[in-house]
């Protein structure tokens, strides 16, 4: 709402929510203590969310597949997705052609929040606990993966296929470096260098095209 109607830059508004959300969690958990679910009888579906399998594949991968299909169809074919993409590519034009900018923005942020919520549920189910600040590790990786993914599109737009390939790249690098035995901190350096490399190649192309 702040972004849509008050016109606050998304960067700043979501930064604000980041601080507010952190504080809410700290208030609810005595300053950020983990909450464990050790002695509680949990419903069977609770751990099925992360550890179960359906038709031979783990449930989280099914969730990825369903959401990927949903986001792809929405972005590429649904009216909302096309409006959303238009707004992203040409905000001024979209506004003047009478698109309901505030509503589109609101729906997009709610949809993405619901998707993040799914991650939270699976995360809790995986470790059977609430671990403070566990989600923030995903923030930069998700941004990185999505930006890496934009290099796949000729117009540098984010897309589902590119994003998934970007995530796959980051995951494989993290796992491979772990197996080689690199220190965790050096893994971050390697990930950063890799993002630079892919983006550098991509931007070299852009320069070539318009030069």
């Amino acid at each position: 709402m702040l972004i849509g109607w008050l016109g606050i830059a998304p960067f700043l508004a979501t930064l604000g929510t980041l601080f507010i959300g952190q504080t809410v969690q700290q208030l609810a958990t005595d300053g950020g203590q983990p909450v464990y679910l050790l002695n509680v009888a949990l419903p069977p579906l609770f751990s099925a969310l992360a550890h179960g399998t359906f038709a031979g594949l783990p449930v989280p991968l099914w969730i990825v597949a369903v959401l990927a299909l949903g986001v792809h169809v929405t972005l590429a074919h649904a009216t909302l997705g096309r409006q959303l993409t238009a707004l992203g590519a040409q905000p001024g034009v979209a506004r003047y052609s009478g698109l309901p900018v505030a509503a589109i923005t609101l729906v997009t942020f709610i949809a993405s929040a619901l998707i993040y919520g799914v991650v939270g549920l699976i995360l809790s189910s995986t470790v059977k606990a609430y671990v403070p600040q566990a989600g923030n590790g995903y923030l930069l990786n998700a941004i990185g993966a999505t930006f890496i993914g934009t290099t796949l599109s000729p117009t540098r737009r984010p897309g589902v296929v590119g994003t998934l390939l970007g995530v796959l790249l980051l995951s494989l690098v993290a796992n491979g470096l772990l197996l080689i035995g690199w220190n965790f901190y050096w893994q971050q350096v390697a990930t950063g260098a890799l993002i630079f490399a892919v983006l550098a190649v991509s931007f070299a192309q852009r320069r070539g095209r318009y030069a």
Binding site: P10, F11, I20, Y138, L139, A142
Partner: protein, 107 residues
């Protein structure tokens, strides 16, 4: 000529993927085994992929969402707290979704 190079560079990501897989297959012991790759898909890939799908929506809008991590945490916390109080699976799973999106709606 430029077009051709451009087409090659467009697939820098795919090339990087192949290079990374080849590199680790050679140098990382156990990397190319099926159980390891399945483990990567389940433990590294799945959660980040879901989170990145949300980020893809927001970035398509030309915006950016820094509250991704907080959204995940709030949903996780609400889910765990509700489950701890034995509310039952369905409300425990649905209510955090509302808290996650309500937070954004208020903001």
């Amino acid at each position: 000529m430029i077009e051709q190079i451009g087409r090659l560079q467009r697939f820098a990501l795919v090339a990087a993927l192949i290079a990374v897989i080849a590199f680790f297959a050679m140098f990382a012991p156990g990397f190319a085994r099926v159980d390891n790759l399945a483990n990567v898909l389940l433990n590294n890939f799945a959660l980040l992929a879901i989170a990145s799908l949300g980020m893809t929506l927001v970035l398509s809008l030309g915006a950016i969402d820094l509250s991704l991590g907080t959204s995940i945490d709030v949903a996780s916390l609400a889910f765990v707290l509700l489950s701890a109080h034995q509310v039952g699976f369905v409300p425990s799973a649905v209510l955090p979704q509302h808290s996650s999106s309500a937070r954004l709606t208020v903001c």
